[in-house]
Amino acid sequence: MQTLIKQQSTIGAADRRTVGRVTVENPRIRCRNVHVYYGEKRAINGVTLDIGRNEVIAMIGPSGCGKSTFLRCLNRMNDAIDGCRVTGDILLDGQDIYDKRLDVVPLRAQVGIVFQKPNPFPKSIYENVAYGPRIHGLTSTRSELDEVVELSLQKAGLWDEVKDRLNQPGTGLSGGQQQRLCIARTIAVGPEVILMDEPCSALDPIATARVEALIDELREHYSIVIVTHSMQQAARLSQRTAYFHLGDLIEVGMTNQIFTNPRHRLTEDYITGRFG
C-alpha cells in the first residue's frame, strides 16, 4: 500500500495518458472521454475505449480504480446510485446511450450484466430464466418461452444439470450453478454485450473453471466485458486487456502484450505484483 501511495504521488499528468491502441475496427461500443462523478468526487477520469465485436475484453486494476464503475456505465446501472453523474459519450452501435430520449429498458436488454455474487431471484429455475423474456414480451406462447428457457440454459451449460428440476427454486443450486443460471437469465433476453463484474470471485476453483469455459464459448455470439481481480483469469480469457489505475485508463493492448511486455510503468508494477 505504501508503494502505491508513493507511485501515486510520483505520476504526473503525462503519465496518466492512456498508452496503447484504444480503438478497434467496427466497434460495438465506443466510449469517448467518459468522466464519472459521485457527488464531487471524480471516479472515472476521461476514459476513451472501444469494445469490439465477439471479443472478451478484461479490465484489471487495483481495488477502487474505477473498473467496476466504468463497467456499470455501459448499461447505465449507475443511474440508480444517488449523486452519480456521467459525462462524455458512450455509443452502442452508434447510438448515444446517455441520450435523454433513450429508454434504459431496451438498452439493458441489449447490454446485459452479471454480478459478482450470484443473485438468482427467489423463484424457480424456470421462472428465473423466463423473467427477462416475459418482461420484454419476447415470446407470445408458452412453448416459445419453453424453447427460449431451454436454449438459454443450454448456452449457459446448465441444461443437463437442471432439466429435471426446472420448478425447484434457483436459490437451491450451488454457487457455480447459480452464477451460470444468472448468465442464462441474461442470455435469455438476447443481448449483444454481456458485462461481467468479477463473475467468479465468489466461486470455488472448479465452478470458476466451468464459468470461464462458458465465457470462452459465449464469445462466439456476444461481446463480453469482464472485470476481474485475477490476472490469470484475464490472461486466460481475454483477447484485449485494459488496465485502470485510480480512475484513469492507463494502458490498453492485446492481452499477450500487456502481460508479457507492458509499456507503462504502472501496468508493469501491477502485473508483476509490486502493488494491488
Binding site: 444517488d82 439493458r108 454480478f115 443473485n119 431471484f121 427467489p122 418482461i135 420484454h136 437469465r185
Partner: protein, 478 residues
Amino acid sequence: MAGLPLFKHPLKDINRLIMHPSTLFFTLAILCAFSFWIGKRRALTIADGQIRNLHSLPGYYGYYATLWCAIPALTLLALWTGFESNIITALVIRGLPAELQHLPADHLNLMVNDIRNLVSGNIVSGEIDPAMRAAADHYQNLRQISQAALAVVALTLSILGTLLACRRIHKAQRARNGVERAIMLFLIGSSSIAIFTTIGIVLSVLFEAIRFFQAVPVGDFLFGLKWSPQMAIREDQVGSSGAFGAIPLFAGTLLISFIAMLVAAPVGLMAAIYLSEYASKKMRSITKPLLEILAGIPTVVYGFFAALVVAPFIRDSGSLLGLDVSSESALAAGLVMGVMIIPFVSSLSDDVINAVPQAMRDGSYGLGATRSETICQVIIPAALPGIVGGLLLAVSRAIGETMIVVMAAGLSANLTANPLQAVTTVTVQMVTLLVGDQEFDSPKTLAAFALGLMLFATTLILNMVALYVVRKYREQYE
C-alpha cells in the same frame, strides 16, 4: 379511633430506623463496595503488583469478592422476607388464649388480620379486647426480633462471604470465568422473568375461566348465538337469565378487524412500497417518522375521533343515501382502527422490503425491468412472507384493540355481517363486565376471564404463526 401510637420512646424510633430494611440494604451495598476494593487489593498483593502474574484482571477479583459478599446475603434476605410473616403469624396464633385458637379457620384469619392492623396502626374492626392487644404486642415483638436477627445474620454472611472469597483468591484462580458465569446466570434470570410473567398471566386467567366453565358449559359458551350476561340477582327478577354465547362477540371482533385490515393492509403496504422504493432519502426521512406518529397516538384519542367525527359522518352520509346507519357502527370503529394500524403494516413491510438484498434489484434492473416490474415480480414476492407476518401481527393487534371499539362500536351484541349496524367485541364486553364493583362468584364476572382466555389463545396463535412465517423468510438470505 385511630391506632394507638405504639412507639413513644425516641430511643425506640431510632431502633426502628436501624432495623428498617432499607438501612440493611444500604449497609449491604457499602459492604459490597468494600469487598470489591478488598478483593482487588488482595489480588494485586498476591501478584506483587504485576497484573501479568494474575489469571484475570484485578477488577474481576474485586467482582468475585463482591459476588461472594452479596449473593448469600441477598438470598437469605429474600428467603427470610418470604417466610417471616407466616412463621410469626403461626407463633402469634400459638400464643393466643386457647379458646381463641380453636375458632373456625376463617374467624381466626379475620382476627389475625385485626392483629396486623393493630400493629400497623390501621383501623380495626370491632372492639379491641386485651387478648388481642397482648397478641399485637407479641406480634410486634417477634417482628423486631426477627428483623434484628435478619440484619445480624445477613451482615455476618456477607462479611464471611468476602473473607472466604479473599481466601480463595490466588494467582491462577479464574476469577473472570466465575464472574462471567454469574453474569450469564443473572441474564438468564432476567429473560425468564418475562416468560414466568406470561405463564402467570395465563394461569390466572385460566383458573378463573375454569370456574366460569363450571357454571356455564364450554359448548354453550363457544357456540352459543346469544350474548346477554345479565344474571338475576333476586329470584323474582324478570328477563335476566344470562346467556353466554360468545359467537356474536367474536363475529363482531372479526367484522371490525376485517374492516380495519381492509383499510390498513393496502394503504400500509403501498405506503411501505413508496417509502422503500420510490421516496428520495430526504422524503423518506420526513415521511417515515410522520407515519409512525400515528402509532404514537393513544388509542383513547382515536376513540374520540371515531365516536365524534367518523361515526356521525358515516351516519349522515348513510342517511343521504337512504341507508339506515346506527350512530355506533362497526364501519366507523373499523375504519379508525384501520388508520391506527397503518403504521404497523407500513413499518414492518418497509423493514422487510428493505431487507430484500440490493442484488435482487440489481439483477432485475440489469435485465431491463422497470421499477414497477421489479417491485411486483421480484421484491414483493421475495418480501411476501415477511409482509404476511407483519399483517398477521397487525391483525392480532386489531383483535386485541379495546378503546376505539369501546367508544365507537357500541355494546349491543348483534350477530350481523352488516357493517352499518352496531356490534360489540370481545374486548368491549370484558371491559363492561369488569368495570365497577363485581361479585367474583357470578358467571357474569367470570365470563370476562373466559373471553380473555379465548382472546389470548387467538392472538397467541396468530403471533406464533406470524413469527414462524417471518423467521422462515429470514432464513432465505442468511
